[in-house]
C-alpha cells in the first residue's frame, strides 16, 4: 500500500505539489495530468529522490522505479547493468541470475543480455529500465512516462507486462498519454497544478463526459454556443469534437477517457 499524506514540494518560490493526499492499494494506477502538473515531482517524492517540504509518504519496502529519463553506462552489458541494480536491491547472489533473466525475458531482452548498453537503441535502453524496475519482485512500481521512446509494438508489450502484474504489486504509471492510461490502468488519478483533481476510473471518466461531447460539422462552427472547449479538429473532414455542458449544433459523440479528463481540466487551463 502507498500512502501519500498532504505532501508539498517547492522549488524556490514555485509550489509544485500542494497538499497531495493519496492512498493506493493493490492495482494499476494511472497518474494523469498535463505537462508541469507535478506528476514527475510526485513520482520522485514517492521514490525517495526528493524529500518533500511537507507531508508524509509511506511506501512498501521494495520499490521499482523507472524515471522519466533512464540511462546507464554504455560500457556495461545489459546483464552487468541489471546485476548492478540487483546488488542495489540486495537480491541474494545465488538468485540474482534467475531474477535478472526473468526480468529480461519479460521485456524481451534475454537474447541481448551480453550486448553493451551503448549498442542498444533508445527503445531497448528504455526496456532495460523497465526490466530493472521489475527486478526484485517490488511491491510498488513507479514508472514515469514509461512508453516514451517506445514503438507501438513495444508499447503493446509494455501494456502486457503491466497486465501480467495485476494482482501483484501496486503500479503507478505517470503519463500525459491518455490512451496508455485507458488501456492499462484500473484507477486514474488526475493531477493538475500540483493538486489532485480527482481519483476515478476510466469508466467513470467516460460516464461523466457522457452527453457532453459533440461532433460538430465544420460549417457550423459559428453556431457553437459558449462556453465550449474544442477537443480537436478532425483532419480531412474538418469535423470539430467539442466538449460542452450546453447543447451544440452537432451529434453527441461517444465519450472517451480523454474527454472525461478534459472535463476536469478545462477552465483551469
Amino acid at each position: 500500500m502507498l500512502e501519500v499524506s498532504h505532501v508539498e514540494m517547492r522549488f524556490g518560490q514555485k509550489e509544485v505539489l500542494r497538499g497531495v493526499t493519496l492512498t493506493l492499494h493493490q492495482g494499476v494506477y494511472g497518474l494523469l495530468g498535463p505537462n508541469g502538473s507535478g506528476k514527475t515531482t510526485l513520482m520522485r517524492c514517492i521514490a525517495g529522490v526528493y524529500r518533500p517540504a511537507a507531508g508524509i509518504i509511506r511506501t512498501p519496502e521494495r520499490i521499482g522505479y523507472l524515471p522519466q529519463r533512464f540511462g546507464m553506462f554504455k560500457q556495461l552489458t545489459v546483464y552487468e547493468a541489471m546485476a548492478y541494480f540487483a546488488a542495489l536491491k540486495q537480491i541474494p547472489a545465488r538468485t540474482q541470475r534467475k531474477a535478472i533473466m526473468e526480468c529480461l525475458e519479460q521485456v524481451h531482452l534475454a537474447d541481448r543480455a551480453d550486448d553493451r548498453i551503448g549498442a542498444l537503441s533508445g527503445g531497448m535502453v528504455r526496456r532495460v529500465g523497465i526490466a530493472q524496475a521489475l527486478l526484485g519482485c517490488p511491491e510498488l512500481i513507479l514508472a514515469d512516462e514509461p512508453t516514451a521512446g517506445l514503438d507501438p509494438e513495444e508499447r503493446l508489450r509494455f501494456k502486457n507486462v503491466i497486465s501480467n502484474l495485476r494482482g501483484g504489486p501496486t503500479v503507478v504509471l505517470s503519463t500525459h498519454i491518455v490512451e496508455d492510461v485507458e488501456s492499462t490502468c484500473d484507477h486514474i488519478i488526475l493531477l493538475y497544478s500540483g493538486k489532485v483533481l480527482a481519483e476515478s476510473t476510466a469508466d467513470d471518466l467516460r460516464a461523466q463526459a457522457a452527453g457532453k461531447v459533440f461532433s460538430v460539422p465544420a460549417d457550423k462552427r459559428c453556431q457553437l454556443q459558449q462556453p465550449y472547449h474544442l477537443l480537436r479538429e478532425e483532419a480531412g473532414t474538418g469535423t470539430l469534437r467539442v466538449l460542452s455542458d450546453l447543447p451544440q449544433p452537432g451529434d453527441l459523440a461517444a465519450p472517451t477517457v480523454e474527454d472525461g479528463y478534459m472535463l476536469y481540466i478545462r477552465g483551469r487551463m
Binding site: R44, A47, G48, V49, R51, I63, Y65, L66, P67, Q68, R69, F70, G71, M72, F73, K74, Q75, L76, E80, A83, Y84, A87, L88, K89, R116, G129, Q132
Partner: protein
C-alpha cells in the same frame, strides 16, 4: 560496494579516452624520468625535477575524476540511482577507488625512478630513499588525490565550468604563480600569503635543489596537503549527506574538523623556519637584503670580555629554539655586549642566580645590563636564521654565523653580502640538540646529538648529511649532492700552500690536514654569499661553500681573504686567482698594446660601465671592455712567459696586498719587469 567498484572498473577500462589518456600520461612520465637520467644530475636534482611531474597527476586525475563521476548524470542514469539510498555515494566513491590504484601506480613509477637512479649512481645512503618516498607522497600522490577529489566534487558541474576550474586549480597548485607573483606585494601584503594555500606541487622547482635539505617537506606542508584532502572529502560527503544515512554527515563533520586543525597549523607557518627560495619578501632571496637596507649596522666594537664556556640546548623543530648559558671571563662589568643574529628573538636573560636581567636588542646586537656584575648568563631565544636554516628537516648552522651570542658588536653584513665571524678565542662548548635528525658537529660526540669540546666555534649540520672519512680527514656533506669530495685533498692543499707562501712571501700558516670538512649546501651560495664565506677555516674544521672545491680553490681563497677588495683592482685579482686555480697559460704572441687597454683604466670593472647612461654607448662599451679584458689576460700570460710565473705571482700578490697602490692595475701589469 563491491558491485559498484566492479561497475566503475568496467566503465573505466572499457572506455577509450580515459585509459588511453592515462597510458599517455604514464608513458610521458616514464619518458621524462628516463630522459632526466641522461642529464648527469645529482640525485637530489633528479628528485626535484622528477617531482615536477606531480602536476600531471593533479591535471589528469582531476579531469578523469570529473569525467568518470559525471558520466552517469550525463547519460540520465543518476535519477534512477538516487532512488536507492547510498547508491550514488557508493558509486562516486567507487569511481574514486578505481582511480586510486592508477594514482598509486603512477606515483610508484616516479618513486621507482628515484630508486633506479639511486642504485645507478652507486649510492649507499638509505635515508635518501625514505626521503624520496616521502617526497613522492607529498608532491605526487597527495596532490593527485586532491585533483581526483576536486574532479569528483565537480561532478554536477557543466563541462566548461569544470574544465575552467581544473585549469585554474592546476595553475594555482603549481609554481607558475610563484614565478608571477612572488616578488609583488599588494597594500603591503604579499600575494604569496594567499597563493601558498593552493601550492601543492614541489616548491622552488626552478631553483637548484639543496642537497643537505632535500625537497622541502616541513610539517606545515603535510598539513596543507592533508587539509585539502580532508576538506574536499568532507564536502563530497556533505553533498551526499542525504544519500548515505546518518554516518555520512557525521563523517563529513569529523573530516572538516580535522581539516580545520590542519589549516590552523598551516596558517601558523609564519613561525616556522621554511626554506623559501623565491623572491617573496620573506624568502631567503630578498628578506635579508631588505632588512639590511632598512637597518644599517650600528657601531661596531670589540668586547672587553670573552666567553669561557657555552652550554647550548638547541631544539630544531619548526624553528630554532635555544637556551644558552655563557660563562664569562669577567664578572665586574655593568654591560656585556654580544652579537646574535637579528632573526632570533630573545625572550629572557637571567644571571647565574636566576635573576632576570634587562637587555636591549638592536639589530644583530644584544646588550645585557648587569648592575651587580654577572659570572654567567642564560639567554633564551628563538627564531629564524635566514639561509642558515634549522628545523625538523635540516640544520645548517656554520660556526661563523652567530646563532649563539658572540662577544662584541661585530659586522654580519657588508657590501651586500654576509660576513663571517672568525678569529675568536677558543671556548669550551657543551651542546645538546633536540632534532629528529642525526646532527654532525666539529666537536667530539658525547651522546646522541650531544657534543662537547674546546673550539673557536661550533658548526652543526643535520639533514641529508653523512660523514665520510678519507685518510685523516672527515667530510660532512650530502651524499646526494653535487659536491665531489674526492677532489678535496687537504694534505695536498697544505703542500700547495707551502709552495705559494714560498712564491708570494705570505707568512700565514694553513694547516688543513686532520680538520673536519663541512661542505656547505647550495642555499648558502644562493644569496648574500660574499667571498669570505667561500672558504672559512677554523682551528678544527673548515667550511666550503663552493661547488667542486679543490686544494687550489681553497688555498686561493685563503690567500686572497685578507687582501683589499677595492673595485679598481678587481680585474687583476680575478686574473691572479684564475692563474692560481687553473693556470693562465703562456702567451707566445706580441705584447698586447697599452692603448687597447685604456677602457680598463677608465672603467676598472664591468659594474663601472653602468655609469654610461646611453644604451647604445653602453653596448659599445661592453663590447670594448670584453675585448680589453681578454687582452688583459693575454698581457698577464705574456708577462708570465717573459718573467716566469713565480715572479709574476709574487709581484702581483705584493701589489694587491698594498692598500695604497701608486699605479692602476693596467699600468702596473704593463710595466711589470720594466716598462717597454
Amino acid at each position: 560496494m563491491i558491485r559498484s567498484i566492479r561497475v566503475s572498473n568496467r566503465v573505466f577500462y572499457r572506455g577509450l579516452s580515459l585509459p588511453m589518456s592515462y597510458g599517455l600520461v604514464l608513458a610521458a612520465t616514464l619518458a621524462s624520468l628516463i630522459r632526466l637520467t641522461q642529464g648527469a644530475l645529482s640525485p637530489v636534482d633528479y628528485l626535484t625535477d622528477s617531482l615536477k611531474l606531480g602536476i600531471f597527476g593533479v591535471l589528469y586525475f582531476a579531469l578523469a575524476g570529473y569525467e568518470l563521476t559525471s558520466m552517469l548524470r550525463k547519460l540520465g542514469g543518476q535519477e534512477c540511482l538516487s532512488a536507492f539510498p547510498g547508491a550514488q555515494c557508493g558509486l562516486l566513491f567507487s569511481h574514486i577507488l578505481v582511480l586510486l590504484p592508477l594514482l598509486a601506480v603512477w606515483s610508484a613509477v616516479i618513486f621507482g625512478g628515484q630508486v633506479i637512479y639511486f642504485f645507478q649512481q652507486g649510492l649507499d645512503y638509505p635515508p635518501y630513499l625514505l626521503h624520496c618516498l616521502l617526497a613522492v607522497m607529498l608532491y605526487c600522490l597527495l596532490p593527485g588525490l586532491d585533483g581526483l577529489l576536486l574532479g569528483a566534487l565537480l561532478e554536477r558541474t557543466e563541462r566548461p565550468s569544470a574544465y575552467g576550474t581544473v585549469v585554474l586549480a592546476v595553475l594555482l597548485s603549481s609554481s607558475v604563480c610563484d614565478e608571477l607573483f612572488a616578488g609583488s606585494s599588494l597594500f603591503g601584503v604579499s600575494p604569496m600569503a594567499v597563493l601558498d594555500w593552493f601550492h601543492l606541487t614541489v616548491p622552488n622547482g626552478n631553483w637548484m635543489a639543496d642537497a643537505n635539505y632535500g625537497v622541502p617537506m616541513e610539517f606545515c606542508r603535510w598539513c596543507l596537503a592533508a587539509f585539502w584532502c580532508l576538506v574536499l572529502t568532507s564536502v563530497l560527503l556533505w553533498q551526499y549527506r542525504r544519500d548515505g544515512g546518518r554516518a555520512v554527515p557525521i563523517a563529513a563533520a569529523i573530516l572538516l574538523a580535522a581539516a580545520l586543525l590542519c589549516a590552523a597549523r598551516f596558517a601558523l607557518r609564519g613561525e616556522d623556519d621554511l626554506l623559501l627560495k623565491d623572491s617573496r619578501p620573506d624568502g631567503i632571496l630578498s628578506s635579508e637584503y631588505q632588512y639590511r637596507a632598512n637597518h644599517p649596522t650600528g657601531e661596531l666594537g670589540v668586547a672587553d670580555f670573552s666567553v669561557e664556556e657555552y652550554d647550548l640546548k638547541i631544539t630544531a623543530k619548526g624553528a630554532l629554539k635555544v637556551s644558552t648559558t655563557v660563562n664569562l671571563s669577567r664578572d665586574d662589568l655593568r654591560e656585556y655586549r654580544f652579537t646574535l643574529y637579528h632573526g632570533y628573538e630573545v625572550s629572557s636573560v637571567t644571571d647565574e642566580r636566576g635573576a632576570a636581567l634587562p637587555f636591549t636588542r638592536d639589530g644583530d646586537f644584544l646588550d645585557i645590563s648587569a648592575p651587580d656584575g654577572a659570572k654567567a648568563f642564560t639567554v633564551l631565544y628563538s627564531g629564524k636564521g635566514w639561509k642558515y636554516i634549522a628545523n625538523e628537516q635540516a640544520i645548517t648552522l656554520p660556526g661563523y654565523f652567530p646563532y649563539y651570542p658572540i662577544p662584541g658588536h661585530l659586522a654580519l653584513w657588508a657590501d651586500g653580502s654576509a660576513q663571517t665571524v672568525t678569529g675568536l678565542p677558543p671556548a669550551r662548548f657543551r651542546v645538546e640538540v633536540t632534532s629528529p635528525r642525526t646532527v654532525f658537529s666539529n666537536l667530539p660526540k658525547t651522546g646522541h646529538n650531544q657534543f662537547e669540546g674546546v673550539a673557536e666555534a661550533v658548526t652543526l649540520y643535520a639533514g641529508l648529511v653523512d660523514e665520510t672519512v678519507r685518510g685523516r680527514a672527515s667530510y660532512i656533506c650530502s651524499p646526494v649532492g653535487r659536491e665531489q669530495i674526492e677532489s678535496i685533498d687537504l694534505e695536498r692543499a697544505d703542500r700547495l700552500w707551502q709552495e705559494w707562501c714560498e712564491i708570494t712571501g705570505e707568512t700565514r700558516t694553513l694547516d688543513l690536514a686532520g680538520k673536519t670538512v663541512f661542505i656547505q649546501p647550495d642555499t648558502i651560495s644562493a644569496c648574500g654569499k660574499g667571498d669570505s664565506e667561500s672558504v672559512v677555516i677554523f682551528d678544527d674544521h673548515i667550511l666550503l661553500a663552493n661547488m667542486n672545491s679543490t686544494p687550489e680553490t681553497i688555498c686561493a681563497y685563503y690567500l686572497l681573504e685578507y687582501l683589499p677588495s677595492d673595485a679598481e683592482r678587481g680585474l687583476l685579482r680575478d686574473v691572479f686567482k684564475q692563474d692560481l686555480v687553473v693556470g693562465i697559460g703562456n702567451w707566445s704572441g706580441e705584447k698586447p698594446d697599452y692603448d687597447a687597454l685604456q677602457i680598463l683604466r677608465e672603467y676598472p670593472s664591468m659594474d663601472a660601465l653602468n655609469e654610461i647612461g646611453d644604451e647604445e654607448q653602453w653596448f659599445a662599451a661592453v663590447e670594448q671592455y670584453t675585448s680589453a679584458s681578454e687582452r688583459f689576460h693575454a698581457l698577464y700570460a705574456w708577462q708570465c712567459s717573459q718573467l716566469g710565473r713565480d715572479t709574476v705571482l709574487r709581484e702581483v700578490y705584493q701589489y694587491l696586498k698594498d692598500s695604497t697602490p701608486s699605479q692602476d692595475q693596467v699600468t702596473f701589469l704593463y710595466d711589470l719587469g720594466g716598462a717597454s
